[in-house]
């Protein structure tokens, strides 16, 4: 599948001397990784080559408090406000579509692409953000790029790329009840390692993968980068087409039929060779929680922090986390719970969190922050009353954005506190200086919020 998409986008194939010139079908952009690229265009007197293939939004440094988004209260962080204004100016100057701060379609860049139907099978998709791998759930070749490359795509609609290798992740059997896509991808990263996918495009396949919904597939592909892979892909199938059919910017009528015919040729041919492969048994998994300072440091919720003597990096991670080897994961106290992000900020994630929370209260002393992935997700969640469940439980319900995933907008975890988070990175300081992050599914996050310590959600759902 990867080879087919790659070859269809080669403007100039690679040689020993030069990388391939690869055409990009969709360039998503946001306020953080674009200003220096626009400055480069300006200094060279260049234009944006394909405004019709470029879509911008505001997500990383934007506030989640309603009064700062809609109420006329200034954005509390001055530099963030300037960055937002800069993208607004650049969008005007370069004639680029911007789903701005108060736009009803605004949201996290990786949530809105699929939601609008601009994310489609067989496309090449880039964004100045490492979680661009999310879009691979549709059978697109999607990867994160740096700001210099953002400038390249603005000016030429192309990137220079060496062809990566391929890595098959075969997930056999089905996930047990109460075990989610988030638990599966954490288990995969635990097995492959945080650099196991470096230089590779992952293809997730097997019975457990085809059984997943599109939103679950996005959760899987989203964290490919956490295994070191820039891209992860899942073959398009009826689930993909059913998701896309009614999306506002998906092809319509005859164009839709032609697109489905084209997309159905994308899946990997039987017997195609991969550079590497690994097999995972979905049936053997349980809810997973990280205990360390990278997503590969992960254990089953019923397990313990592993023992690993004589490894100073491991010891440093545990010291940062304030955890001891051998300590049960389920004993870890919780101060903050965050549900949201491009990993788990979609409607189905909020439904799962609500299912656990319904009729319960967030434990005393725990701050639970629930941030929808987009304004459309927010609207849909409110239409089915999910926000009522959250607010009644004592959680904080906000406007959309990246928020506490990386704390750029001021939504941070206080120093030394434990945060059970549905986001994608538990790096030191990621959610705030000294914050201690435990990555988990929305179900585990909600259960942990109720009990005030890390909790297996199956105890509350049975």
């Amino acid at each position: 599948m990867f080879e087919k998409v790659w070859e269809a986008h080669e403007v100039v194939p690679e040689t020993a001397e030069t990388p391939a010139v690869l055409y990009i079908d969709l360039h998503l952009t946001h306020e953080v990784t674009s200003p220096q690229a626009f400055a480069e265009l300006e200094s060279r007197g260049l234009k944006l080559r394909r405004t019709d293939l470029t879509l911008a939004t505001l997500d990383h440094s934007t506030p989640t408090r309603t009064e700062q988004v809609f109420g006329g209260v200034p954005i509390s962080i001055d530099s963030a406000a300037k960055q937002v204004a800069q993208l607004e100016r650049n969008a005007k100057a370069f004639d680029m579509e911007l789903l701005g701060l108060q736009h009803e379609l605004r949201g996290i860049v990786h949530i809105i692409g699929p939601e609008l139907g601009v994310t489609q099978p067989g496309k090449t998709i880039v964004c100045g953000d490492s979680h661009t791998s999310t879009h691979g759930a549709f059978g697109a070749l999607a990867f994160g790029i740096g700001t210099t490359e953002v400038g390249h795509v603005f000016a030429t609609q192309c990137v220079l790329q060496r062809k990566p290798k391929t890595f098959a992740i075969d997930v056999i059997n089905r996930l047990p009840t109460g075990v989610t896509a988030k638990d599966l991808i954490l288990a995969i990263i635990g097995q492959v390692g945080v650099s196991g996918g470096t230089g590779h495009v992952l293809e997730y396949r097997g019975a457990a993968i085809t059984a997943l919904s599109m939103e679950e597939r996005m959760t899987i592909c989203n964290m490919s980068i956490e295994a070191g892979a820039r891209s992860g892909m899942i073959a398009p199938d009826q689930t993909t087409y059913d998701y896309l059919r009614d999306k506002p910017r998906a092809p319509k009528g005859d164009a839709w039929l032609a697109a489905v015919e084209r997309w159905s040729t994308l899946p990997t041919d039987a017997g195609a060779a991969f550079s590497k492969s690994v097999e995972i048994d979905a049936a053997a998994l349980e809810p997973m929680v990280t205990y360390g300072t990278n997503p590969g440091m992960v254990a089953p919720v019923s397990g313990s922090v592993p023992m690993r003597s004589g490894d100073p990096v491991f010891d440093k991670a545990l010291a940062y986390m304030g955890l001891r080897a051998g300590e049960p994961i389920a004993d870890v106290p919780v101060n903050v719970v965050f549900v949201g992000s491009c990993t788990n900020g979609r409607l189905s994630d909020l439904r799962q969190a609500a299912k656990v929370l319904k009729g319960h209260k967030v434990a005393k002393g725990v701050h639970m922050l629930i941030v929808p992935g987009s304004q459309q997700v927010k609207k849909a969640a409110e239409a089915e009353g999910l926000h009522r469940i959250f607010i009644d439980a004592g959680a904080d319900w906000r406007e959309s954005g990246c928020s506490m995933c990386l704390g750029m907008n001021g939504d941070t975890v206080p120093k030394g506190q434990y945060s059970v988070s549905t986001s994608n990175r538990n790096f030191e300081g990621r959610q705030g200086i000294g914050a201690r992050t435990l990555l988990a599914s929305p179900e585990t996050a909600a259960a942990s919020a109720i009990r005030g310590r890390v909790t297996d959600p199956r105890q509350l759902l049975s």
């Binding site: 403007v11 100039v12 020993a16 001397e17 030069t18 990388p19 010139v21 055409y23 953080v32 990784t33 200003p35 220096q36 400055a39 480069e40 060279r44 260049l46 394909r50 990383h60 440094s61 530099s79 963030a80 300037k82 960055q83 800069q86 100045g128 953000d129 490492s130 661009t132 994160g144 790029i145 740096g146 210099t148 490359e149 400038g151 390249h152 000016a155 030429t156 192309c158 220079l160 060496r162 945080v194 650099s195 470096t198 230089g199 980068i225 070191g228 820039r230 990278n294 100073p312 990096v313 440093k316 990386l406 704390g407 750029m408 990175r425 790096f427 030191e428 300081g429 990621r430 200086i433």
Partner: protein, 193 residues
């Protein structure tokens, strides 16, 4: 961009594995709209205490690190986010090369585009470098070799085109802009017009 041929410098050693881009430049500093001045915030959460004072035993705050332009780091350096602010911060601080046994893909790409050399070497010379902080090394991009003070020459590999651009001070956007006819032909062929 200035051509780069050789770098001779003492090394700073940070042996930790998986040093991610959130450590290199924490997210709260990404609201900048320029590339300059990020060196001050390089490794901020390891370098300064909560009142902003330098932490004396952090390597970059020691006298030995002063003036060293080559960083030797543990395996899988630069993993995590695509923020180009990470190589910008390293360069702004004064580093010109990073040596490890493994360097994350996006960080490596971003580094090459800014003239920060990502040098991947085998475990054996890497262990030697980790054990000998401050060693005077020479990186010769023309011959793809890293010369250690013990007389050993270690070869490394840098993607051919990126290396050509670095050696000649050529910028990749200029090369891509020259492909305009091929890009236009591709757009016509695939009806992306």
């Amino acid at each position: 961009m200035q051509p780069i041929k050789t770098i001779s410098s003492c090394t700073v050693v940070m042996p930790a594995t998986n040093i991610d881009t959130d450590q290199i430049i924490p997210g709260r500093f990404l609201t900048t709209t320029t590339k300059q001045g990020l060196g001050e915030q390089l490794f901020a959460d390891w370098r300064y205490d909560s009142s902003g004072k330098p932490i004396p035993d952090f390597i970059l705050n020691t006298a030995a690190a002063k003036g060293c332009r080559v960083l030797v780091a543990g395996r899988n350096f630069g993993c995590g986010s695509s923020r180009e602010h990470a190589p910008w911060a390293l360069l702004d601080y004064g580093f010109q090369a990073v040596i490890s046994t493994e360097i994350a893909d996006i960080f490596r790409n971003n580094s090459l585009k800014n003239g920060l050399l990502p040098i991947v070497i085998d475990a054996e010379p890497h262990s030697w470098l980790l054990a000998n902080p401050g060693a005077k090394v020479t990186i010769d991009l023309e011959s793809n070799t890293l010369c250690l003070p013990n007389g050993k020459h270690v070869t490394f590999n840098i993607e051919a085109f990126a290396r050509y651009c670095l050696l000649n001070g050529v910028d990749e956007l200029g090369f891509l802009l020259q492909q305009d006819a091929a890009i236009t032909a591709y757009e016509a062929r695939t009806l992306r017009t």
